[in-house]
Amino acid sequence: MKTTLLRVDDLCVTFPGAGEPVPAVRNVSFALAEGERIALVGESGCGKSVIAQAVMRLLPPETAISGSVRLNGIDIFAQSETAMEKIRGVQMGMVFQSPERALNPVYRIGKQLTDPLVIHGICDRTEAKKRVRDVLGSLGFTDPEWMMKAYPWMCSGGMCQRVLFAAVLLLHPQLVIADEPTKGLDADRLGELEEMLCAVSERDGAGLLLITHDLGLAARTADRVIVMYSGLILESGPSDVVLKNPGHPYTRGLVGSLPENGFTPIPGMSPALTDLPSGCVFHPRCPHALERCRTEMPDLCMDEEHPARCRI
């Protein structure tokens, strides 16, 4: 058993809404081992990205957060902002969706890649430039020199994506969070992205938390899959088991809505977070819902190999 890198315990995140508070994430617990790749999947608004921001501690100050997030045993929520600045980047890195917008438009790419190394005191500027050149070369840029002099708006989405990966890889964080990295990317770039995601954990032994709604990507890259719905974990387990033999009707619905499985959409819409149904959150859309699903919410036992929040 590998050592646990990230442990999220009973995480609840509530945003102060216009009228009533919005529970974005409820009682989420999971653990990520070194070198492990976990995919958080679910529809938009199910709280996937909120978990990533809670782990990075980037949520606005007015957000109510309970539970704990531990990275290498360090309690993230107990750290000061100054301490977090030393943890972010070096111990955990994040790759964002829409790569073109995740780079500062007024700086050359070379500067944006060397700065983190210099700021964290890893090496001086000359050495940093050398490392950046090497990493850009290893990511498949034929002319790293040109790339370092270019501005982000000169580059395509795929190029920016690779630059963002370079920024994360240069600092060798133990935990890499990728927030919907496939958004805005051409289909032919997907293979390349998957390779980069796998390389992160294989080369550096880093843990990867992949946030996506692309089940195919999750199946191909992740060791374990966590399925989320309305801020709750509904099911989790090894990716091949969860996606081939789903334990929850929602996961079954998600798999069934894939084009290769018949393109059958799940009926209805996900509920508003301020107006959650009683009992099981999924029962209004569930084809197998029983009378007791309307009143009781099944528990989730995370110690099991393949737990699911369903009684049926």
């Binding site: 600045e85 995740a102 700086y107 700021i119 000169m154």
Partner: protein, 281 residues
Amino acid sequence: MNTAIRYFPAFPRISWKPYLLPLALISVFILISAAPEAFAPYRPNKLFDPYMELSAEHILGTDDMGRDLFSLLVYAARNSMLIGFASGALAVSIGVAIGLVSGWYRGLLDDVLMGATDVVLIIPKIPLAIILAAYLKPGPWILILVLGLLSWEGVARVIRSRVLQVRSAEFILSAQCLGFSRWYIMTREVLPVIFPLIVPKFVLMTAGAMLSESSLSFLGLTDTTMLSWGTMISESFTYSGFIRGMWNWWLPPALCIILSILAVTSIAFIHERGRRVVIQS
């Protein structure tokens, strides 16, 4: 960069042509204020016959005390320019600092700082400057402080709203995730992006300060021994320059005020228009 321009012919290049005239004008004024001895035929306190007509020796004549008006005009440039640029720079520095901190930290700090900004906004500037000028010993530095400390609120509000916009951009989030400090993100990531907003603000603040200085000087509320274009017009008004129809006394400083302010503001306007064109294309 050459390769970049070759690969990307649409690289926006700034045309310097429209800036030439206003920049040349401002350079001339700055040059004159830096070394008035080189341009003025006489020292400003050298006395001749009073109320002299225009002549080859005194191209703008002399005033009631017999001082050469052209020399006065040249020596007055320094204080007018100094007060304009220094209080413009002061106002913009305070405004940018407050706007940046307010927009970045939000929450309670933002409420307090924006409350202070609103208070400054409702203070009537010229009347307060008149009162302060009456109580404090008037001089160019007091004027710079008063004008600078009373006119930053517009800058602070504009900068704050832009910082609020920029801080939620993904590249700022990305910078946070790379572990950059708050100070670094504010000064190196946010500030360069909002810089195009600061330049015209500084220029307009400068022009506003020049105008306020002239108004206050004309009202006789600044140090009367302080040479500036405003005091020249004021003296011409007080010591019968207007009654005698001595346009050579009040018109040249008035023209200098108009020209310097026009030159400074047109830089801001050209700058803004240039940006719009870049954005549209």
